[in-house]
C-alpha cells in the first residue's frame, strides 16, 4: 500500500513551485491500483504493440509510450501533449490534427507519417527519421529536430518559426510557403532541397 501525502503538504507543494504540479502523468509515481487505459483494443503502456490501431481523438496527454508500435495507426486529433514517444514506430501513421506540443519523439521512426495541421510546438524530435513524411499546415514552432532525417520530406504552409534544424538531413526535401522566421539550419545537409533557405551550406 502506497502512502499518500498529507493534503496540506500536497497543497503547499503545488502552490510553490508550480512546475512540480505541471509534471506529465508519466513523470509522477503511479499508484499500485492504476487502471490500464485501453482504447479500441490498444493498451496504453510503454512498448505497446498496436500497428494500425484506431486512436482517433484519444486522450494520451503525458503518457509514456516509449517503444510503442503505432505503425500505420490513425492518431488523427489525438492529444499527445507532453507524451513520451521515444523509440516509437510511427511509420505511415496519420497524425492529422494531433496535438504533440512538448512531446518527446526522439529516436523514433516517422517515415511517411502525415502531419496535417499537427501541433508540434516545442516538441523534442531528436534523431528521428521523418523521411517521406508530410507536414502541411503544421506547427513546429521552437521544436528541436537535432540530427533527424527528412529525406524527401515535404514542409508546406507550416509554422517553422524558431525551429531548430541542427545537423539534420534535408536531402531532396521540399519547402513551400512556410514561416521560417528565426529557423536555423546549422551543419545540415540541404543537398537537393527545394525551397530551403540559402546560406546554411
Amino acid at each position: 500500500m502506497r502512502k499518500t501525502p498529507h493534503p496540506l503538504l500536497s497543497a503547499l507543494a503545488c502552490a510553490f513551485p508550480l512546475a512540480l504540479c505541471a509534471l506529465p502523468a508519466s513523470a509522477q509515481p503511479a499508484g499500485d491500483d492504476e487502471t490500464v487505459q485501453i482504447i479500441n483494443g490498444c493498451p496504453i503502456w510503454p512498448y505497446t504493440r498496436c500497428p494500425g490501431a484506431d486512436l482517433r481523438h484519444a486522450d494520451l496527454v503525458g503518457k509514456n509510450l516509449a517503444g510503442a508500435d503505432f505503425s500505420g495507426a490513425d492518431l488523427s486529433r489525438a492529444d499527445l501533449r507532453g507524451a513520451n514517444l521515444s523509440v516509437a514506430d510511427l511509420e505511415g501513421a496519420n497524425l492529422t490534427g494531433a496535438r504533440l506540443a512538448k512531446a518527446t519523439v526522439s529516436n523514433a521512426n516517422l517515415q511517411k507519417a502525415r502531419f496535417i495541421g499537427t501541433d508540434l510546438e516545442g516538441a523534442r524530435l531528436f534523431r528521428s527519421d521523418f523521411s517521406g513524411a508530410e507536414f502541411n499546415g503544421a506547427s513546429l514552432e521552437i521544436a528541436r529536430l537535432d540530427k533527424s532525417w527528412f529525406i524527401g520530406t515535404r514542409f508546406i504552409a507550416s509554422n517553422l518559426q524558431e525551429t531548430k534544424f541542427n545537423q539534420v538531413n534535408l536531402k531532396n526535401a521540399y519547402f513551400e510557403a512556410n514561416v521560417l522566421r528565426y529557423a536555423v539550419f546549422p551543419s545540415s545537409n540541404l543537398e537537393g532541397c527545394q525551397g530551403c533557405p540559402k546560406g546554411w551550406d
Binding site: G31, D33, V36, P43, W45, Y47, N107, R127, D129, N169
Partner: protein
C-alpha cells in the same frame, strides 16, 4: 638512423597491436556461459519469456550479461552511469498492471521489444549503436538475460 628505425618499427608494432585488440573487442561472440541446467525451449522465439520465474535463470543471465552487455549497459545492469540505456526499466510499468491477462500482454510487449533490440541491434542512419546478436545468442541465453534484468537490484 638505426635508432629512428627502431622507433618507427616499435610505433608500427604498437599501432598494429592496438588495431588488432580493437577489432577483437568489437567482434561479438557468444559468452562462454553454461546453459545446460536450463530447460530446453521450443524452437524459435516465444511471445513471452518462457524462463520467467525459473530460479536458475537469473544467475546464468547475470553471467552472460556481464560478459556481453555490461560494457555499455553497466556492470550488473547498473545503467545509472552507463552510456547505453538502463535495461532494468524495460517492462517495469507492467508491475502496476494487476489484471492477470493484461499483465501477460504487457510483459509480452516488453519482452518483444527487448528481444527485437537484441536480435537486430540498434542502428540509426548507418551508425551502429548496438550490434545485432541474431545468430550469436540463442533464445535460452537471451531469455536468461531478460530474467536477470527483471531481478537486478535498483538503487
Amino acid at each position: 638512423m638505426r635508432h629512428h628505425l627502431v622507433q618507427a618499427f616499435t610505433l608500427l608494432g604498437v599501432s598494429l597491436f592496438m588495431t588488432a585488440a580493437r577489432a577483437s573487442d568489437d567482434e561479438i561472440r557468444r559468452p562462454p556461459v553454461d546453459t545446460s541446467a536450463l530447460p530446453a525451449l521450443a524452437p524459435g522465439w516465444a511471445e513471452i519469456n518462457p524462463l520467467r520465474g525459473n530460479p536458475q535463470t537469473a544467475d546464468i543471465g547475470r553471467e552472460a550479461f556481464n560478459q556481453a552487455c555490461a560494457r555499455c549497459h553497466g556492470q550488473d545492469a547498473d545503467g545509472s552511469r552507463s552510456p547505453a540505456p538502463d535495461l532494468r526499466r524495460i517492462g517495469l510499468s507492467c508491475r502496476r498492471v494487476k489484471d492477470a491477462a493484461l499483465n501477460q500482454r504487457c510483459q509480452s510487449d516488453a519482452d518483444h521489444f527487448f528481444v527485437k533490440s537484441v536480435r537486430y541491434g540498434k542502428q540509426k542512419f548507418g551508425i551502429i549503436h548496438m550490434p545485432p546478436w541474431e545468430g550469436v545468442l540463442e533464445p535460452t541465453l537471451v531469455w536468461s538475460i531478460r530474467s536477470f534484468l527483471e531481478s537486478a537490484p535498483r538503487q
